[in-house]
């Protein structure tokens, strides 16, 4: 019987080394040939954004250029995995939706997606960057180069409240806390915090806290404000019992579901929760209020963009499709279909948008989005540091870890990662 001794172990190691050496011969560094049909145009998209409006634009584009349009939809994590594999093998799509501002910069500095400034300059009618809301543009630029074009623009920090439980929405943290405590009774919680760390951003931004200052190698500064914000959130759960402790899952819809079931009087989130609430509980009298004011009034920016892989077959074509997908006409139609808010100034100025009370509130939230540290994306460590932040946030909010110590640990680990 094969009893396995040290000798066979060594032989195995030797064999593996030899094979490994041979393996470098067929290294993936050599770009893969484009075996795809040259008439196929491939787009990666988020499965939640598969609006009919976009489908129509894409179909029309295919007709105009005699292309077979291959519109692939993914969940964000799957899209990232697929794209990573594609970049490493050289077998890339022609246009990709960017999960959020900064992702394109990270890919662009690694040479995986194209700088788009030349296209934009040559295409005056497109109106970039002039017609786009500044924060959405600035967050996608690094040292004067733009790596993606904003597609959607939304903000986290809106206060959703149930008008049957709350007459006047809170405007300040004190009012928020008072209301959360006074509406907590029996099975109803005053509010519900989210297990996802990105939902902390409106709170710390309202204390003027920057998530990162990569230049100075600082995180969550000023420290006082950061402590205050996280302590406020932690106390809502563990001291005032005004929010259930969130559960660590990969589903972020917990607060929305509690609100829909009339088991939470209010919660802080973004426009994406309007649809599910309307659909699940049409009877709820939903109120939507502008972001809270702590030290300042602030919200955090969200929303996807569009980027062109460096090895796309025909970047000119990809650019043309970008201009069609982000035309103000398309934006207005997409808003009408889905309620999604958009990055163009001319979109915000459109009478149909201005007249809609919800969109008006969203626009006010967009006006106070906190600046993003573009150097974080440029450092290439953004994903890793976000991961560390996720851990720290859950430790404080779910596991009741001391705020001061956890923030200090996070700063140390994030600094080391840089």
């Amino acid at each position: 019987m094969p009893s396995l001794d040290r000798r066979s172990f060594l032989q195995l190691g030797l064999g593996a080394t030899v094979l490994g050496a041979v393996g470098t011969g067929c290294s993936p560094a050599t770009p893969a040939a484009q075996k795809q049909d040259a008439r196929t145009f491939t787009i990666y998209w988020n499965a939640g954004h598969g609006y009919q409006v976009y489908k129509d634009v894409i179909d029309q584009f295919g007709k105009d250029h005699d292309l077979e349009m291959n519109w692939q939809k993914f969940q964000w994590p799957d899209l990232t995995t697929k794209l990573t594999a594609d970049f490493r093998s050289g077998n890339v799509p022609d246009l990709v939706e960017e999960v959020s501002a900064g992702t394109g910069t990270q890919y662009g500095l690694a040479g995986n997606v194209l700088a788009l400034d030349e296209f934009a300059t040559a295409d005056q009618a497109f109106g970039f960057p002039g017609d786009f809301i500044d924060q959405a543009v600035v967050a996608r630029q690094y040292e004067g180069t733009t790596y993606s074009i904003p597609l959607h623009l939304t903000a986290n920090g809106l206060v959703f409240y149930n008008k049957e439980m709350i007459d006047k929405p809170p405007a300040t943290w004190d009012e928020f806390l008072d209301l959360a405590r006074s509406t907590t009774k029996d099975k109803v919680s005053g509010t519900a915090l989210n297990s996802d760390a990105s939902y902390a951003a409106p709170f710390y931004s309202q204390q003027n806290v920057d998530f990162s200052q990569v230049g100075a190698k600082q995180f969550m500064v000023p420290q006082d404000g950061a402590r205050k914000a996280l302590q406020f959130m932690q106390d809502l759960i563990f001291t005032h019992k005004a929010s259930p402790a969130p559960v660590a899952t990969t589903d972020y819809s917990g607060p929305q579901k509690l609100f829909s079931a009339e088991r939470a009087a209010m919660f802080v989130s973004g426009p994406w929760d309007i649809g599910p609430i309307r659909q699940g509980s049409p009877d709820i009298d939903l109120g939507l209020a502008v972001p809270l004011t702590g030290a300042v009034q602030a919200s955090s920016m969200a929303g996807s963009g569009l980027m062109i892989p460096a090895k796309a077959k025909d970047p000119e074509l990809s650019w043309e499709l970008i201009t069609r997908l982000t035309a103000v006409k398309t934006e207005l139609a997409a808003t009408k279909e889905s309620g999604m808010s958009m990055p163009r100034k001319s979109w915000a100025a459109d009478p149909a948008v201005a007249a809609d009370p919800n969109l008006g509130t969203i626009a006010k939230a967009l006006a106070v989005v906190a600046d993003q540290d573009v150097a974080l994306a440029a450092s290439g460590k953004a994903a890793q540091i976000t991961e560390l932040w996720k851990k720290a946030y859950q430790q404080m909010i779910i596991q009741h870890a001391p705020v001061e110590q956890t923030l200090a640990d996070f700063r140390k680990q994030a600094g080391a990662a840089l």
């Binding site: 094969p2 009893s3 396995l4 001794d5 066979s8 172990f9 032989q11 195995l12 064999g15 393996g23 067929c26 993936p28 050599t30 893969a32 040939a33 075996k35 795809q36 491939t42 988020n46 499965a47 939640g48 954004h49 291959n70 692939q72 939809k73 993914f74 969940q75 964000w76 799957d78 995995t81 697929k82 594999a85 490493r88 093998s89 050289g90 077998n91 799509p93 589903d251 972020y252 819809s253 929305q256 579901k257 509690l258 609100f259 829909s260 079931a261 088991r263 994406w272 929760d273 599910p276 609430i277 659909q279 699940g280 509980s281 049409p282």
Partner: protein, 275 residues
Amino acid sequence: MRERLFPGDRLAAYVVLGALGLVTVLPLLYMIVLALQSDAEVQSGDPVLWPAELQWSNFTRLFEAAPFGRFFVNSFVMAGAITVAHLIFDPLVGYVFAKMDFPGKRIAFVAVLSTLMVPFFVRMLPIYAIFANLGWIDSYQGLIVPFLMDAYGIFLMRQFIKPLPDELIEAARVDGAGEFRIYLRVILPQCKPAMAVLGLFTFVFQWNEFLWPLIATSRTEMRTLPIGLTLFNQEYFTQWNLTAAGALLLFVPTALFFVITQKFLVEGIALSGLK
């Protein structure tokens, strides 16, 4: 005449089986409940024990939303071909390791076993790069070839073949049978239960495989069912009813495959009873 371990042992067995059976089945029944809920019920935040109205249309909505028929065929071709390949190769290699003696056997076996010990996504990227060069992206061979055999099946077969008496082989050799003939006529017929198990597990595993089909296909018509199921998660919430309906769809073929192999397993019992 049945012996007793203790008075009421049969009752105790049924109590254990019943309890575990319930724990097993209830979550799956809940999946059926989920699949039949309306969109509003799914989003309402109140867990629904029984939908107000059974939404059978959720199943037809699947097929309207994406070419699920095609996904089904792709999954079937992929999992089916891989299962057949495993049933051809794994017992043969397992037999060599169980019953043959040759220099280098130990190393070879460890080398085979070691392939189980690195997560698939580690070898995924180099294979993807090579297949992209070969033009095998969006093809059946691209989906199938990385999984033609595996150490799991080889190890499984080795473990099952090892206890078979050597005299069987010796006797056949004395009768002048060739080596391959011995394998085919003497060994393989003994392995039916093990092969049923191997076939079932291989099929189930590949049928549910997610990562490789995600990477190796970029056209809707080449996608498989597990990838298709992810189309129903919205950016910020899960479309539970459609996901659960798709999950049930995903489940049917593996259940059928199990029912088929279950018969083989019973046959295996009958055979060993005759011995």
